[in-house]
């Protein structure tokens, strides 16, 4: 385990030491890892999660998860007869630093795959680098969709794997007629709420005045007014629910205010897309019992694979109270998929693995299977859980089968006609089915240029 | 750049902001005229119905016990403090109450502070250079070059204040007396019409005091000088006209002899301060 804890290879220390001697001899930094990678060299797995700064709170456990998975894989004999080695860097919750670190991982360390990122903005920052240097990135967090890159595999939920089923549940099973969409002001809530608004109006005929939308800044701590507004919104005689895309730190004061203003899960249930077991460890869950969350995995899933995973995690962290959550499962799936694809391809070569991984199916932790789709999203079950007083979720509903992730939402005018398929011959992340061309990719332009000549 | 220049120089964009550059008009009498000036801080009247007239070319000494309002009076003249009521005129054309410090300074009122204030990080030479009467707007200042003429003038003043040898030293290392001299030198460079000198000889030796007295009396006639001083010996040595301030208003005015025999003055001031004066 110690060998894995940090990237411990002499190259880094050597080069940094020499650099420090003088700015001008900095050229040494260019001394990159040897190009003559031999078969007994370890396979390098890059981990790009913030270990300091505001995102450390969520991302540190993901780093540990990947390290644990690597350790397990090595105990099982490694991959292709080679050992795996973790290369950990800290992008410190700083988005430009994410791009810089990704470049370091790919150009300097020459890692074979990267597991990383949490926020959308960090993924957006890393995306051009990963595409330019042809890397592999596994992104484990639920996100707003509207993206499909050749080099990125999205193992978290797209909006149709979380938000839409959750709303279906509220309408069909709970009988909700009025919706307050409350979110932090950034891209994920904005997009999700736009999709939900369109979905509610088009598919369920919910009237404009029965939808309330509200955005707050990051880390918002004074919820008095907004909660009062929600309370009044819910007093109009129709069953009302709150759909919360409130992010991270703002949740505790939000829920505290809800319970203090006497809003009970039975009166106005709140369904959250960003609150998982990890977040609940920081909240006094007593007053929250019955509020909901929609995820693709809960720690409380009653399944032996899951119990094994939890036990391994508890053992790895040495903390009896350690919890698991959805993005961890996503890494679990992503890691196994990658390992399977490497095994199938017989090499870690990026292009080969990229082709081989489409269609790979591995077990998930909730008793089913996850398959990698041609649009680089995976199939997932959608679970709805109710918060219990022990910080766990009680699963009250789940989709009868798994749902395939949709990169381009059917409920947004701009993306309705787009699909992604990275198999030959299409090989396009934003194919426009109406005009039959690959939307904004440079491929179309190059083809045009070629024709003109 | 010229666009920016015009933006940063408000006086060129807005006519009404142009400084009143007209010369001081002293044809109709005094150079400084203060009438019924009152300043109060939270009800405490630091200056109370003060009336004061300084004639062109006059050397006037102002004395008074601590808290008499001497420094506040200077603050008013130089635009640092705004009086609660009253009027202050420079010549018969310039109402000082409508102007700010740099405007007043460029009109020709120079001030030496009670506590010597020089630019400690700059050299003695540079201190004098900055004080020199010149175009003090931004771009002329930015593009200013050193000419032989300027250098000669600074050299002259350095000679006068006896700091030629220390010209390249930072002003911060000067002794207290040297700083006093440097500040007087800066006043000379400014070529003001009216000099306000607050305690010029504090911390000086006997000889230095003599030279200062010489310098100040030499200035009178060409320029008007107002000296605030505690040192009675020094005042006696230079004074022609003395004004005694007490509790923010004029207690007595006249020659040193007249004033020092005034029973009111003796009562509030001289009697108590005799020892110190000697």
């Amino acid at each position: 385990m110690n060998t894995l804890k940090r990237s411990t290879h002499p190259q880094r220390f050597l080069s940094s030491g020499r650099f420090a001697t003088a700015l001008l001899t900095a050229a040494v930094m260019g001394a990159s890892a040897p190009a003559f990678a031999q078969d007994d060299d370890p396979i390098k797995v890059g981990i790009l999660h913030s270990l300091s700064g505001t995102m450390a709170i969520s991302e540190t456990v993901l780093k540990d998860t990947v390290e644990m998975l690597i350790e397990q894989q090595n105990e099982a004999g490694g991959l292709l007869g080679r050992q795996l080695e973790a290369v950990v860097v800290d992008p410190a919750s700083n988005w430009p630093l994410f791009a810089e670190r990704a470049r370091e991982l790919l150009a300097q360390e020459e890692v074979d795959v990267i597991f990383g990122n949490w926020t959308s903005v960090s993924r957006k920052a890393v995306l051009p680098v990963v595409e330019e240097l042809n890397g592999l990135l596994f992104y484990p967090v639920q996100y707003e969709g509207e993206e499909s890159s050749e080099n990125v595999f999205y193992t978290g939920a797209a909006p149709n794997q979380q938000a839409i089923p959750a709303v279906e549940y509220l309408i069909n099973e709970v009988g909700i007629e009025r919706f307050a969409l409350v979110g932090t002001d950034y891209v994920y809530p904005r997009t999700t709420n736009r999709i939900l608004e369109a979905f509610l109006k088009d598919e369920h005929g919910i009237a404009e005045e029965d939808i309330m939308v509200n955005y707050t800044p990051f880390g918002h701590s004074d919820w008095q007014n907004i909660v009062a507004e929600i309370r009044r919104f819910g007093e109009e005689g129709k069953p009302t629910a709150v759909i919360s895309t409130v992010n991270g730190d703002a949740n505790v004061p939000f829920y505290t205010e809800l319970s203090n203003q006497g809003i009970d899960a039975a009166d106005i249930p709140v369904i959250a897309f960003s609150v998982g077991e990890q977040e609940l460890t920081g909240i006094d869950t007593g007053p929250l019992v019955g509020h909901l969350a929609a995820w693709n995995y809960f720690m409380s899933v009653d399944n032996d694979d899951n119990y094994d995973f939890i036990d391994a995690w508890i053992e790895y962290t040495g903390d009896d109270m350690a919890v698991t959550n959805d993005p961890m499962e996503a890494h679990y799936i992503g890691f196994n998929m990658w390992a399977e694809a490497v095994r199938k391809a017989g090499t870690t070569d990026v292009d080969t693995v990229k082709d081989a991984i489409i269609g790979v199916t591995v077990p998930n932790l909730s008793g089913g299977y996850a398959a990698m789709m041609p649009n680089h999203h995976i199939t997932k079950p959608v679970l709805i859980g109710e918060i219990q007083d022990n910080g766990q979720f009680d699963i009250v509903w789940q989709t009868p089968s798994t749902v395939a992730g949709d990169a381009w939402s059917d409920y947004l005018p701009g993306s309705r006609d787009l699909i992604a398929d990275w198999r030959k011959p299409m090989e396009c992340g934003n194919f426009n089915v109406v005009n039959g061309s690959c939307g904004g990719s440079t491929a179309a332009e190059e083809a045009e240029a070629a024709l003109a000549e | 750049m010229s666009f920016l220049q015009s933006l940063t120089q408000r006086d060129r964009v807005f006519d009404f902001m142009a400084p009143q550059a007209s010369p001081v008009d002293v044809r109709h009498g005094p150079i400084l005229y203060m009438e019924d000036v009152t300043v109060s801080f939270d009800g405490f009247k630091a200056i109370n119905n003060l009336n004061l007239t300084i004639n062109d070319g006059e050397l006037r000494c102002i004395i008074g016990p601590n808290g008499a309002g001497k420094t506040t009076m200077m603050d008013i003249i130089t635009g640092k403090t705004r009086p609660t009521s009253g009027s202050v005129w420079f010549g018969s054309r310039h109402n000082l109450l409508h102007m700010n410090e740099p405007d007043i300074a460029s009109l020709g009122i120079g001030r030496k502070f009670q506590k010597p204030t020089v630019f400690e990080a700059l050299s003695v030479f540079e201190n004098l250079e900055l004080a020199m009467a010149a175009d003090k707007r931004i771009f002329p200042t930015l593009t200013a070059r050193m000419t032989g003429e300027i250098k000669d003038r600074i050299d002259d003043v350095l000679e006068t204040i006896g700091l030629t040898a220390l010209r390249h030293q930072p002003a911060g290392i000067l002794s207290h007396g040297q700083k006093q001299w440097l500040e007087i030198g800066m006043l000379l460079m400014q070529r003001p019409r009216l000099l306000l000198v607050d305690e010029p000889v504090a911390g000086m030796t006997e000889q230095e005091m003599e030279r200062t007295a010489e310098l100040l009396t030499g200035l009178a006639g060409k320029q008007s000088v107002v000296v605030v001083e505690h040192d009675m010996g020094f005042v006696r040595s230079i004074a022609r006209q003395v004004t005694v301030l007490h509790q923010g208003s004029v207690l007595a005015e006249g020659t040193m002899d007249q004033v020092s025999s005034d029973p009111k003055v003796i009562e509030v001031y001289l009697g108590a301060d005799d020892e110190e004066a000697a």
Binding site: V174, N260, G391, D394, W397 | -
Partner: protein, 539 residues
């Protein structure tokens, strides 16, 4: 939902009198004989379908087993579980991997069981509502007034025609004023919705949202007389609501303001008195909050006592940290205020990372004691949240305490002397160094107190301090450095301004507007609301 309630109540009424009587005869002699029947009732709960579970709940309700309420409560709390061998158990504590359990039927403790071996009888929000109603129905006949009140309140808007006569009977029997009022209202809501004049009249002036819904339905009814009366009542109610909403916004503002005051007042001391720009102030608050958490860990099960004890403890911890900062760093930076800013900023980074490394990067759970949760109901449209009311009160007490220290104690006198003229104070025999230490400790300690209060409102985590530091500086600068009254007025008024703006500008814009307002205000009054005047201030 409503149908279920009526149904349940009707069923229940058939047994009601017996149960009521049974509840009065406290000894439960017949219970053990019914175990077989009880097991059957519980067995019916362990099915897939939530509809079937609903029926099972009704069945339990209809049984005359006096343990029914406990079962339903356990089911509601998710503590009714089943072991692998089919036994029904009550989970006593459900944290960790192994949970202590007791037998549901006998109440006998069964030791600890692994969570792998237990299966929960799941419920969803529908069932949760059903259970609450069921418990409410039982409770309507309870001897406990509190329970009767809660259950009567649940009936608002849930009454239907068949229930009315029964409720009228109950109203006649009821002794408690509040319960009677609620029941009357519940009946009136039903009548108003049915278009009866009596109902509309009874609801006149009622601020309860359900009454408003009923009245607006009546106002759209067929009978013009009733509709007009309802409309008139409604407009009166709307007026009332507006006033209440204004009061509510004021309360929100004062509450936010009190948080700002608490966060800023320690800073006002260190900044105003010593001229130290303490960027680590937020982290000192964080220490206070973590002290509360640690206290609650030390005294499990006594969150209230822990909270009270953490007031002195939080003060001490932060004050000691303050002394360390003063001795370790700030004393070397006398007279260089802007550099204290940089150095203390460094300290704040270190403290944050220290907490992350030593404790955890994750937020910690601080429990709100019973007496601080919920709200104080003024009327049906206005209730004031208790935790914030305590914080508001706490802020005022802290402020008053500080004023006392500054005005009435030797320390305060010395502090004021040092503020006004350091050299003079020193020459008069005041040990300025000691005063510095005490002042900094005091300011830091108050930050710790603010942290204790904040632990009841927001996250206790490594970022706690950062979220408040800028706001605190704004408050101090806006109020005027070195003036405690200024800080109080500035904090409260900024809080109110923010909350007044928020409903129409949105949370983000409101905050931006407040910041721009402060920037412009400082242009007008460069030394804040209450500047220090005179010569000393200009130095």
């Amino acid at each position: 939902m409503r149908r279920f309630l009526s149904l349940a109540l009707l069923c229940f009424l058939l047994l009601g009198i017996t149960l009521n009587a049974q509840a009065q005869s406290t000894d439960a002699a017949s219970s053990s004989t019914n175990d077989a029947a009880a097991l059957e009732l519980l067995e019916a709960l362990d099915v897939e379908s939530y509809t079937a579970k609903g029926e099972a709940i009704t069945a339990i309700l209809q049984s005359d087993d006096e343990r029914a309420r406990d079962w339903l409560q356990a089911l509601l709390d998710g503590r009714l579980q089943r072991t692998e061998d089919g036994r029904f158990v009550l989970v006593l504590e459900n944290r960790g991997r192994d949970w202590p359990v007791a037998d549901v039927l006998t109440g006998e403790a069964l030791g600890e069981m692994s969570r792998r071996d237990l299966e929960r009888i799941g419920i969803n929000n529908n069932l949760r509502n059903q259970l609450r109603s069921a418990i409410a129905v039982v409770d309507l006949y309870s001897l406990n007034v509190e329970r009767r009140r809660t259950s009567a309140e649940r009936l608002l808007g849930e009454v239907d025609g068949e229930l009315v006569p029964t409720l009228d009977d109950l109203i006649a029997q009821e002794e408690d004023e509040q319960v009677r009022y609620r029941l009357t209202q519940a009946v009136a809501i039903y009548r108003a919705e049915a278009g009866e004049m009596a109902g509309v009249e009874a609801l006149d002036g009622s601020l309860h949202p359900r009454s408003r819904v009923a009245l607006s339905r009546a106002a759209n009814g067929d009978d013009p007389v009733v509709a007009n009366a309802a409309a008139a009542s409604l407009s009166g109610i709307e007026q009332q609501l507006k006033i209440n909403r204004g009061l509510e916004t004021l309360y929100f503002g004062l509450s936010l303001g009190s948080v700002l005051v608490l966060a800023a007042i320690g800073l006002a001391i260190t900044f105003g008195v010593m001229g130290v720009i303490n960027m680590a102030h937020g982290e000192l608050m964080m220490l206070g909050a973590y002290t509360t958490w640690a206290m609650q860990q030390l005294l499990p099960g006594q969150p209230g006592l822990a909270l009270i004890l953490s007031i002195p403890a939080g003060f001490m911890v932060a004050a000691l940290a303050g002394v360390a900062i003063e001795r370790g760093v700030i004393q070397f930076l006398k007279g260089r205020p802007l550099e204290t800013l940089l150095a203390t900023f460094g300290i704040s980074l270190i403290l944050q990372q220290l907490v992350r490394t030593v404790i955890s990067p994750l937020n910690r759970t601080v429990i709100t004691p019973e007496w601080m949760s919920g709200s104080l109901v003024v009327n049906d449209a206005l209730s004031l949240t208790l935790n914030r009311m305590y914080v508001l009160g706490f802020a005022l007490v802290v402020f008053a305490g500080l004023m006392l220290i500054m005005r009435r104690t030797r320390l305060g006198l010395e502090v004021r002397a040092v503020t006004q003229n350091r050299a003079m104070a020193r020459s008069m025999g005041i040990r300025a160094t000691r005063v510095d230490i005490m002042t900094f400790a005091l300011g830091s300690g108050v930050a710790g107190l603010a942290g204790v209060a904040l632990s009841q409102l927001t996250n206790v985590g490594p970022n706690l301090g950062q979220n408040y530091i800028i706001d605190s500086f704004m408050v101090v600068v806006f109020g005027g450095v070195g003036n405690l009254w200024g800080t109080l007025v500035a904090g409260l008024s900024l809080g109110v301004i923010n909350q007044v703006l928020e409903p129409w500008a949105g949370a983000v814009l409101a905050k931006i507007i407040v910041l721009v307002f402060i920037i412009l205000f400082i242009q007008k009054r460069p030394r804040g609301l209450f500047p220090q005047k005179g010569r000393a201030a200009e130095g």
